[in-house]
C-alpha cells in the first residue's frame, strides 16, 4: 500500500489526529493489515458460507 492510499484510508477511517501525531504508527498499522489480508485463502467454492451462521430464534 503506497503512502497516498494509506493516508486516504486513514482519513476515511477518521484517523486524522493519529496521522498528525503518530504517523509512523498509522503506517505500521496499514502495513500489518496489508500483509495479513493477502495471506487469507478465499474459499474456492463460491457458495462457502461465513461463520457464524444466522440462527433466527436462538440466543437473545
Amino acid at each position: 500500500m503506497d503512502k497516498q492510499m494509506m493516508e486516504l484510508l486513514a482519513r476515511r477511517a477518521g484517523l486524522d489526529k493519529a496521522l498528525a501525531e503518530h504517523p509512523e504508527d498509522v503506517a505500521a498499522a496499514a502495513k500489518q493489515a496489508a500483509d495479513v489480508a493477502r495471506k487469507i485463502k478465499a474459499p474456492a467454492d463460491p457458495r462457502a458460507e461465513p461463520w457464524p451462521p444466522m440462527r433466527p430464534g436462538s440466543g437473545l
Binding site: 493489515a33 487469507i40 462457502a48
Partner: protein, 464 residues
C-alpha cells in the same frame, strides 16, 4: 503441611473445609508474599488487601458456623484487569480506562465468589489484552518469576506470573489469540481456553467478540478442572454463550490415558514454524510418555499456522477496531504504542477481508472437526520458544507470533497449555492439548496423564 503459597486450590479448600487451615491465615500469608515479591513481578495493578482479609474473616465465620458456600470456600484468586470486579476500576492496563469503575462483578467473578473464592485484586495485562509488554503505560508490565529479566507471556501476564510465583493458586485470564495459554506456557503453569461459549464473557471488556474466551489458570490440572466446574454454564445474557449442560470435570481427571487416540500435529512446529530444538525435543518426549502410558499416537495434518494466524488477525483486528475506533480517533496518544499500532490495523481491512476470513474460518472448523472424528485429542506445540527477554522489543516482535494457539481461537475448540520441561537456560517449555467441543473432560484426562507421568505440577520457579 505444604508451604501455604504452593498449596493447590483443591488442597486449600479441603483443609479450610475441615478447619485444619484458616482462610484468614492463608490470605494473610499470600498477601505477605505479594508484598514481598510483587515489586519484582508487577503481577498486580491493584491489590485489594483489606477487602480480601474481610472476605477471609467472613469465610472463616461461615465455616465455623457450618455453612459452606462451595468448593472454593476461602481460596484466594487473582483477576485479570479486563474483568469487572464490583467497586474496583477495570483499567484494561490503559490510560483510556484508568478511572473506569465497575459497578458489578463479571459473571465469572460472581460465580467464583458464589463458590466461596476470595478476590485478592486486579492483575496486569497487555493493554486491552492486545498490546504487548509495554513500558509507556501507567503501570509496568508483569515479569516472569522463573527469571524476572524475561517476559511472562501475555496478555494475561499478571495471571501467569502470579500463579507461577505462588502469589495465588488460581487466576482468571482471557484468550483471544492465545492469551491464557501464552503466559501458561511462559510461566510453566496450566492454562485452559475452554470451548467457545462455555464460560460467560459478560462483564469482561471485549477484544474480539467471536474469538474471546475466559479461562482458568492454575498450577495443577485438577485445580483447573475444579475452577472450570465453577465457571462453566449457560448465560442467557451473553449472545455467544452455549446452551449446553456443563460437565463434572473433576471426577474423571485421574483416569489413565490407555486406549486414547492422540493426534500429533507435528507440522506446526517442524515445518510451519520450526521450533527451538529444546521445544521439539520436549514435545517428542511428551508424545513418547503418553505412548508408554498406553495412548495411541498418530500424525495428523491441519491447515498451516500462517493461514490460521491470518484468519485470526483479520477477524480479531476488525472486531477490535469496531470497539476502539472512537478512542483511536479522539485519543490516540492515550494508548501505548504497541496497542495503538495493533488496534489501528483494523481500520485498513475491508468488509470483504472480514467476510473472507469468516468463510475460511468455517472451512477450518470443518477440517479440525473431521480430524477429531479419528482421534480423541490433539497434541501440538504451544510456544515455539522459551520466553524471551522482556527488555528486547526485537525478540518480543520475533517470538510473539511463533506459536500454535490461534488455530483454536479460530475454531473454538478447547485447548490447554502446560509445562513440558525446563530449558537449559532454566525457563519453561510448553505443550498444548486440544479437545472436541465441550469435551474438556478428556482434555483434562490427557493433561493429567502427562502431569502425573512427568511431575510437572511439582516444578516451581526458585523465586523467594
Amino acid at each position: 503441611m505444604t508451604d501455604l503459597h504452593w498449596m493447590t486450590a483443591a488442597a486449600a479448600a479441603k483443609a479450610i473445609a475441615s478447619r485444619e487451615l484458616s482462610p484468614v491465615e492463608l490470605t494473610a500469608a499470600l498477601l505477605a508474599r505479594i508484598e514481598r515479591l510483587d515489586p519484582r513481578l508487577n503481577a498486580f495493578i491493584r491489590i485489594d488487601g483489606e477487602a480480601a482479609m474481610a472476605a477471609a474473616r467472613t469465610a472463616e465465620a461461615e465455616i465455623a458456623a457450618g455453612r459452606s458456600r462451595g468448593p472454593l470456600h476461602g481460596v484466594p484468586v487473582g483477576v485479570k484487569d479486563i474483568i469487572d470486579v464490583a467497586g474496583l476500576p477495570t483499567t484494561c492496563h490503559s490510560r483510556i480506562l484508568a478511572d473506569s469503575l465497575a459497578t458489578s462483578d463479571a459473571v465469572c467473578v460472581s460465580k467464583l465468589r458464589g463458590a466461596g473464592a476470595i478476590v485478592l485484586g486486579k492483575l496486569s495485562t497487555h493493554e486491552f489484552a492486545i498490546g504487548g509488554p509495554s513500558h509507556d503505560l501507567p503501570w509496568p508490565p508483569a515479569r516472569n518469576p522463573w527469571n524476572t529479566d524475561h517476559h511472562p507471556g501475555g496478555s494475561s501476564s499478571g495471571s501467569g506470573s502470579g500463579v507461577a510465583a505462588g502469589l495465588f493458586p488460581m487466576a482468571l485470564g482471557s484468550d483471544t489469540g492465545g492469551s491464557v495459554r501464552n503466559p501458561a506456557s511462559c510461566c510453566g503453569i496450566v492454562g485452559l481456553k475452554p470451548t467457545y461459549g462455555l464460560v460467560s464473557r459478560r462483564g469482561v471488556f471485549p477484544l474480539s467478540f467471536t474469538l474471546d474466551h475466559i479461562g482458568p489458570m492454575t498450577r495443577t490440572v485438577a485445580d483447573n478442572a475444579l475452577m472450570l466446574e465453577v465457571l462453566a454454564g449457560h448465560d442467557v445474557h451473553d449472545p455467544g454463550s452455549a446452551a449446553v449442560v456443563s460437565g463434572h470435570y473433576s471426577a474423571g481427571v485421574d483416569r489413565d490415558v490407555r486406549g486414547l487416540r492422540v493426534g500429533f500435529v507435528r507440522h506446526f512446529h517442524e515445518i510451519d514454524m520450526p521450533a527451538d530444538p529444546e521445544v521439539t525435543a520436549a514435545l517428542a518426549h511428551v508424545a513418547r510418555t503418553l505412548q508408554l502410558e498406553g495412548a495411541e499416537i498418530r500424525d495428523v495434518h491441519l491447515p498451516t499456522l500462517e493461514e490460521f494466524g491470518a484468519v485470526n488477525r483479520v477477524i480479531l483486528q476488525s472486531e477490535a477496531w469496531a470497539i476502539h475506533a472512537p478512542w483511536l480517533r479522539e485519543r490516540p496518544g492515550d494508548y501505548g504504542q504497541l496497542a495503538r499500532r495493533r488496534l489501528m490495523a483494523g481500520a485498513f481491512f475491508g468488509a470483504g477481508d472480514y467476510v473472507q476470513a469468516q468463510r475460511r474460518r468455517l472451512e477450518m472448523i470443518a477440517i479440525v472437526e473431521e480430524t477429531l472424528r479419528d482421534v480423541d485429542v490433539l497434541l501440538c506445540a504451544s510456544s515455539m520458544d522459551p520466553a524471551c527477554r522482556i527488555d528486547s522489543p526485537a525478540d518480543i516482535e520475533r517470538t510473539y507470533p511463533r506459536q500454535a494457539r490461534t488455530p483454536f481461537n479460530v475454531t473454538g475448540h478447547p485447548a490447554i497449555a502446560m509445562l513440558a520441561g525446563v530449558s537449559a537456560g532454566g525457563l519453561p517449555l510448553s505443550v498444548q492439548f486440544v479437545g472436541r467441543y465441550f469435551d474438556e473432560a478428556t482434555l483434562f484426562q490427557v493433561a493429567r496423564g502427562w502431569e502425573r507421568a512427568s511431575g510437572s505440577d511439582k516444578k516451581h520457579p526458585a523465586i523467594v
